[in-house]
Structures are given as structure tokens and as C-alpha cells.
Amino acid sequence: MILDFRGPAWFFGTDIAIQVLGLVISLIIAYYGYKLYKITSKKLDLYFSIAFFLLGLEFIIYILVIPAVFIYYNYFPTLQPGILLTIARSLNFIYMFAISLAYIFLILVYSGIEKKNVIALISSLILALTLYSYITRSYFGFNLTSTLLTGFIVFHTYRNYLAKKTKNAFLVLLTFVLLTFSHFILAYAFYTNIQLAFLPGHISQFLGFASLLIMLIRVKYGRKKK
């Protein structure tokens, strides 16, 4: 379950706050991406919007489901969970799939892949991989896959930064570097089962989204690019 992602008990709550920040930022970017798609009618712009919408979905699941499951396990352990557990497990799977698919959509955007059959193939592979990680409870494998996917995005955002040399492009690059680091550390934490290792993973994720927030503030208030 996603509960395994949370790290030490004293960190509970802070992790939710980090997810709220991620949710707000993801939805703002998804909104602008959708606006862009409405103007250009280009599929790649739609994929960009979908990617951030999926990240938003992942955060919503974390924010809503985690506390519910946590409360159940800690305060009502004798009650029959009934359908609640099935729903929680399904959402847990959607959580993992949404993250992977979000990264895949960003990779499609950067690679300029629009063909539906290619997208269907890649999505099916990611679905199979997520199912395998979910069934075998291999969160190490899931995070390692995410590390590779975000690493690919880092490569493209780095190239963009080299071409543009703007602060905003740097902040986007920094975001994906930190997200890659976050997934790598989480993979390490699951592999070694060191609870404290989850902390740098979550903090790195927080810093990544804080970097996106700074970029959005700069865009919103029209700061100079350099």
C-alpha cells in the first residue's frame, strides 16, 4: 500500500502537506497546458496537460486515501473493512499507474510521438509493469522505473536549458533532477527498508515542486527571464 511510502511516523502530516503543494502546482500547469491545447489544437500540447493532470490525480489519491486508510488501521482495526479495503487497493494501483503514465506522457511530448498505436503500446507496457510492481509489492521496482523515466525527462529539460539559458528553464530542469533523485532515494529506501531514507525522498520531491512554484510565480508576475 501507499502507506509504505510514508516514512517514519513523526513525518506523517508533513508528507500530506507536500502532496497538497504538488496538487495545486500540477493542476495550475495542467490548466495552462489545456489552454495551450485549445489554442493550437496540437495533440502534444494535450498530452502535456494530461501529464500534469495525472500527477494531480496521484496527489489527490495520496491526500484523500492515505489518511482514510491510516485512520482505519490505527483506530478501527477490529471493524470489517468490507469494500473500503478494495477501494483503497484499487486507488493504490491507480496512484502508481497515474505517476508512471504522467511521466510517459511527458516523454511523448519531448519525443514528439503522436501516433496512437505507439502510445497504446507504451501505455500497455507501463500498465503491465505497474501491475507487476503492484501485485508483487515491488515498490523498489516501481521507483526504479520512475527514476529511469524522470531521468529521460531530465535529459530533455537539460537540452532545453542549454538552448534557452533562462531561469525558468533552469527551474524546470531542477524540478525533474530533484524528482529523479526523489524516486532513486525511495527505491533505495524500499530496497534497504531503512525508514529514515524515505525522508530525503519526500524532501527532494517537496523541493522539486517548490522549484516549479517559483517558476510559476515568475511567470504569473512577469519577472525578467534571465
Binding site: L36, I39, T40, F48, T157, A163, T166, V172
Partner: protein, 89 residues
């Protein structure tokens, strides 16, 4: 050599041009927007269908004006443009 404008930039340029002029003839969009006739026609059709510009007739002559929706887009275009650049879209 100047970089080629992409679709988003061309649309923003056309809308900003119409907004600056108030009302504008299609031929003026053609040369002030630095577009071929076919491309200008397709952009105009698309912008009209999306409700961003509107055709008006004055003394049998055709003009285009920007709609409220189009004007809102011009306002937001700068932000969207910066976002696109930041992500390298």
C-alpha cells in the same frame, strides 16, 4: 536567420495585431502578419470557429475584430508562452 514561428506564436501575433488595430481587413492581416494567403485563411477560419475573432461587414467590405475571448487569450498568451519556453515545448 530568424527562427520560424510556431502555430501558437502565429495565432498570438494575429490576435495582437487585430487588437492593436481595432478592426482590420484580411489583406492587412496577410502582409502585417507576414503570412501566405492560404495560411492566413486557415488561421482566420480556425480563430473564427474558436470564437476568438469575428467578421464584420462595413460598406460591403470585410473586417475582423477581436472578441472578448480573443482579448483574454492575448492577456494570457505571455504567461503561456513563458511556460512553453520553460518546459521546452
Amino acid at each position: 536567420m530568424a527562427e520560424r514561428r510556431n502555430k501558437f506564436e502565429i495565432i498570438c501575433d494575429i490576435l495582437a495585431l487585430i487588437q492593436r488595430q481595432g478592426k482590420i481587413k484580411p489583406t492587412h492581416i496577410l502582409y502585417k502578419g507576414n503570412l501566405s494567403y492560404d495560411r492566413m485563411k486557415s488561421y482566420i477560419t480556425e480563430l473564427e470557429s474558436k470564437g476568438m475573432i469575428q467578421e464584420i461587414k462595413e460598406k460591403d467590405k470585410s473586417f475582423y475584430i477581436i472578441t472578448e475571448k480573443g482579448a483574454r487569450l492575448v492577456e494570457e498568451a505571455k504567461k503561456i508562452k513563458e511556460l512553453r519556453e520553460a518546459f521546452g515545448l
